[in-house]
Amino acid sequence: MTNIDPPAEAAEAAPDTPAGTIGASPASRRSGAGGWRSLVPRWSPKLGIGLSLVGAIALFGILGPVLTGDPDTIRDISMTPPGGEFWLGTTQTGQDVLALLAHSTRGSLQIGLLVGVLATLLSAVFGVIGGYVGGAVDEGFSLFSNVMLVIPGLPLVIVIAGFVPVEQRGWWTIAVVLAITGWAASARVLRAQTLSLRNRDYVAAAKVAGEKPWRIVSVEILPNLLPLMASQFVFAVILAILSEAGLSFLGLGASGSDTLGTMLYYAQNGFALQREAWWWFGPPGLVIALFGCGLSLINFSIDEIINPKLRTVPAAARRTRGRTGGAEREGRSAAARSVPGRGEPGRRESGRDAVLTVENLNVVYRGEKPVHAVKDVSLTLGRGEILGLAGESGCGKTTLAYAINRLHRPPAEVTSGSVVFHDRDGSDLDLLALGREDLRAFRWSKLSMVFQGAMNALNPVISVRAQLEDVLTTHRPEMSARARRERCAEVLRLVGVDPRRLDSFPHELSGGMRQRVMIAMALLLDPQVMIMDEPTTALDVVVQRGILREILRFREELGFAVVFITHDLPLLLELSDRIAVMREGEVVEYATADEIHRAPRHPYTRRLLDSFPSLTGERGAFIRTGESSARERPGSGSGAGTGTKTIVKEAGSR
């Protein structure tokens, strides 16, 4: 996992703690979803309403016709309003509307179900098989389904229905025609998903294991497609019922069978609305609308399985919405207040003025099981200093970095502590108390950031120039267009990228170049602090080396301070002035790079150091001929020894 955003990091933290793995508590086992259980939607009010709507209407369609009388019975009580014997009134010819509705609902459901099944089967054949087999078969299948997709369905159905004589237009004929014209959209969706699943390593692994293709499709791929197919099936059913209603309304529907569409057709031809017989015209449409609505609501829950990002944000976090953090309450007035008594000790550390002081910062991910991602962290960043923040995934280093700039998102929340920025001009800014607008103005102009995945950190659809100029137009509105252009070209030159690249889009740049563009962007406003979150992790070593060299050079020339976050401790030893080692939310060791190199005090620091065998020296912890059982107990992701708390405090209070 190299690409971790804060919530994922917190989620990752739980299973990696020794307690969460071996002898797992039943609770933690049940909390995750996998296998068939993963296919069951999470309960939500929406799902409840959807299921009850669909269930009630289905039940009505199944049992209704048995309980109500013969709908075709003609009585001489024309157009009686609801009430008495006839709950929903009667039609022009005295038919019982309720009985009619029950039979029609059954008819429509029948067609919907049949079309749903047929269309899903067709789309699975064309989408999944095409996607898996690839090559010419896929080209052919996908061309075919795309053509079917752009040819408008209903006009085609109308033409076909126009040619088929009425007596041959049974409900299943209509169903088959609707299925043939309605499968293409979902085939396209299934194909795209199959293409992505086909390239997963577990499919490759199954091939290497010697599985047969049909088994790979049916056992390895298909189960992971089921939620998507379910959602496509639901769509097909809604569409079929609607299309059938339309056709029947036009007099082109199934002959001799009751559906909601034919019921509406007769109601319209009997001038139901004109004669204000709303009880005749209203219910069939309402049943269709409610059934469709119920299915859509069920689909929401299925969508949440397919795309977990759509899940509802926990209620607790809703109010704060991340960007504003939990500190809005303090308001603007506190923004520029000085922080007496706090800054003084910090300011003198390592012989530099402090530019950023973090004290006793705590960040918690709210949720059923709150995760304390950052615990009582205190750090001081000197002016022009490079501070390394080392740790493994889930240790809270990224969460900490985001919290400094209040970029953390719900459910993360800063529960206590302070972050103070000491400006060049001598004033102090309490970042956690900054008002919304002041915080916005503070960001990037005083403190800029470089994120890990430069591919994802740049907006893919606008040019490099637009992304650079955005910063200037927002923060330096007084700048002329010409000055903006020059400044953008200047920073690109600084990082060694040809200014002609300004008109490029991110996908046209190599990984190293994108990261350089990110750094150029971070330099635009001449900030005093730059936070770099694994800026070189995804890059090759040679490129990494080049970028590190630039960072050092800028630090010398431009004098900003850097917080450099990485799991690569040897890199930090070379690069940084001081290093803070984090583990499970705590800073376990905080010392100069030299001290950590010569005499690491915390066992976890030593363990991390030992994890990097020396390129040129001895093997160290690497014992190739036998397993070093003492160092890594099976299953414990990051389980170092205990009894480290004392050193934590010692290190933290230094």
């Binding site: 408008p152 609607l242 960007r323 970029l407 916005r440 659809v461």
Partner: protein, 329 residues
Amino acid sequence: MRYYARKLGFYLVALWAALTLNFFIPRMMPGNPVDTLMAKLQQRGGATDPSVRRSYELLLGTDTGEPLVVQYLSYLANMFRGDLGVSVSVFPAEVATVIGDALPWTIVLVGLATALSFLLGVGLGALVGWKRGSWLDSLIPATTVLAAVPYFWLALILVAIFATGLSWFPLNGGYDVILTPGWDGEFIASAVYHGILPALTIVISSVGGWLLGMRNMMVSTVSEDYILTAQAKGLRDRRIMTRYAARNAVLPSVAGFAISLGFVVSGSVITEQVFSYPGIGSRLLQAVENNDYALMQGIFLVITVAVLGANLVVDLLYGLIDPRTRAGN
């Protein structure tokens, strides 16, 4: 360039497929199609003299005894000349003329309504997705009801309320029949006045789909790294929402235009019927009722070509708004 060439090629193939489908549908019907059609015509008490039979035979090519391939090729040739045959119901008008009269009505009505519902749906969807967790979320279930309502049912209810009941809008038609069609202010005002209710129906029942799709994409996009970067850059919320989130989130909606346009066009056929709108949808149904097969096929082709054309335009536009497609991979 490769992207555009591919797209153009695809639409040519789709056009060919539609033409072919159009050719084969009547020929795939069970039994002798001419006999079937004649029987249908007879049921409705239509004229069954030999000249009608002859025109059907010509249309379906059952008289010549020519091989199917030859028929097919001459059919294609006729299509490229724009010769769609002669309409039976509006005899002796050319099918092309009949369609030419009806087409502008539909294009304006459906085109404007679609554009409006797309903009409205995408705009609202972007807002709802951006403000996730606020009261706007409660809009979503409401849109699903709207999306699941049958077009014609909604249209009829709107007519009952706004035309019959409140008399705000005319009951049906495309313009006031006392006027002669022309480019004068009075006529255009009348056409707009008559178009409001049908357009409203189309917008109401199709806006939900756009809204939902956009909202879901927006929610996914908001958790992307470049949104975080934009926030760290200290940009204003509005700018992040439009230029960073919505700009990216709208791409699938545009790419999926084909799917939705098919729905809208299908729905508008029925809507036109409800409003007796002088568009191509009403014409299609009249043709079906009158067993005017040449007109029926001609209209199907024209609708298909129009949908293909609209999709081609959107695809070309997509190439402009997503720079990645231009790279050709």
